[in-house]
């Protein structure tokens, strides 16, 4: 429908992309931000401030002992941290893509590419953390 606004004849701009996609990514951006605060706090405490057995000196051995003490909690926390970090960071990349690229097909392809990159690193990182937890469990038993 053509509307006349003042002396300018203006054609309303159509909606070009499915309306819900931005909603979910915006909501998940907020939720992962909260997740980052929680998981990163636990991660930092675990890696840098928690003193279990060997006094205050931070050594590789001390960190190893922490894995040994809480392998499952550590793995779960860091998988959560990895998930939130990847989503938060890559959604930022997606936002930059949407700012710079206006072609809907190119946006879709690049979004899928970003998702694949995220899923690969999530898979790889999670596998490493789970293997570490399993290794510590078997050493512990």
């Amino acid at each position: 429908m053509e509307r006349v606004v003042g002396s300018v004849t203006a054609q309303p701009q159509p909606v070009r992309v499915a309306p819900k996609t931005g909603t979910y990514s915006w909501l998940l951006m907020r939720l992962t931000a909260y997740g980052l605060i929680v998981f990163l706090t636990v991660h930092m405490i675990f890696n840098h401030y928690l003193d279990l057995r060997t006094g205050n000196k931070l050594t590789f051995e001390l960190v190893n002992r922490r894995f040994y003490a809480y392998p499952v909690i550590y793995a779960i926390n860091d998988i959560g941290l990895l998930t939130c970090t990847l989503f938060h960071g890559l959604n930022g990349v997606r936002n930059v893509i949407y700012d710079l690229v206006t072609n809907p097909a190119a946006r879709r392809v690049l979004t899928i590419l970003v998702m694949l990159i995220g899923l690969y690193f999530l898979y790889d990182g999670s596998l490493t953390l789970l293997a570490l937890a399993q290794m510590q469990n078997s050493v512990g038993s």
Binding site: G6, V8, A10, P12, Q13, R16
Partner: protein
């Protein structure tokens, strides 16, 4: 006091690229930039082209880039700029037609997409459709918009992405979505909540800083984001969700505007 004016010049029929031309104007105490441009046009160079109308900061015609910030020429005293030289250019991000005149078609197309008029399907009452002062306070600030384009033109996302609706159109959507008398919320949310709508706003705040009327554009867009999210996820009307409707306190907009007024942008 003599002030040098560097005025953007571009004639599409003669100039391959834009250039700046310098004029010197004898400025009295209260003269505005528009007064000086008129002096230039009437007494020095009649070919200088710019839009102006009301001289009262109401019509929104004379939005320009003045010393690095979008302002209304009629509302900007030269003395307040505290500069020996005043640079005047067209609003950035808009196609330039000539000198200081830009093409407004894309801007108004985005505005028209938001259906900038009250829609109410219910039968009209005997008198007017009434609002309480509290209901009106949600849209009071947004109704100050004069469509001068200073906000959209100051937004880097608009510069990059011509499809982005921009703060002016989104504030217009906000103005009707949060209007208690309007019933076309869903239609507007489909537009404002699209990928080219609220989600492209990165809270840069240039639009709020540069608005000559003190409209809190960025804050309005953030309120829209929350509204869109709740509508899309079907949470509207439930008591589980906190109230996202903004109610600005009296004087808040003016305070933010004044605070932004002394800020500079790199």
């Amino acid at each position: 006091m003599e002030v040098r004016f560097r005025v953007h010049r571009y004639d599409p029929e003669e100039d391959a690229t834009a250039r700046y031309q310098v004029y010197t104007v004898d400025v009295d105490g209260d003269m505005t930039v528009l007064d000086c441009l008129n002096q230039i046009k009437w007494y020095q160079d009649g070919t200088v082209t710019f839009r102006r109308s009301c001289r009262s900061a109401i019509c929104g015609s004379c939005g320009m880039l003045i010393n690095g910030r979008n302002r209304l020429a009629c509302n900007t005293r030269v003395a307040d700029l505290e500069a020996a030289e005043v640079s005047v250019g067209p609003l950035p991000g808009f196609p330039i037609l000539r000198d200081l005149v830009v093409d407004w078609d894309p801007f108004f197309a985005k505005d028209a997409a938001m259906k900038p008029y009250l829609i109410n399907d219910t039968p009209p009452p005997d008198k007017e459709r009434r609002q309480s002062p509290e209901e009106y306070s949600k849209i009071d600030n947004a109704t100050l918009c004069i469509m001068c384009g200073c906000c959209s033109s100051s937004c880097p996302v608009v510069w990059n992405n011509g499809q982005y609706y921009g703060p002016a159109a989104l504030t217009k959507a906000y103005r009707f979505i949060f209007d208690s008398r309007d019933t076309a919320t869903r239609e507007r949310i489909d537009m404002a909540g699209s990928e080219e709508g609220t989600w492209r706003c990165h809270t840069i705040f240039n639009c709020t800083t540069d608005c000559p009327k003190g409209v809190l554009n960025t804050q309005n867009i953030q309120a829209l984001k929350r509204k869109v999210m709740l509508e899309k996820l079907g949470f509207t009307g439930t008591k589980l969700v906190f109230n996202v409707d903004p109610i600005y306190k009296e004087g808040e907009a003016q305070h933010e505007h004044e605070a932004g007024g002394i800020a500079t942008r790199a």
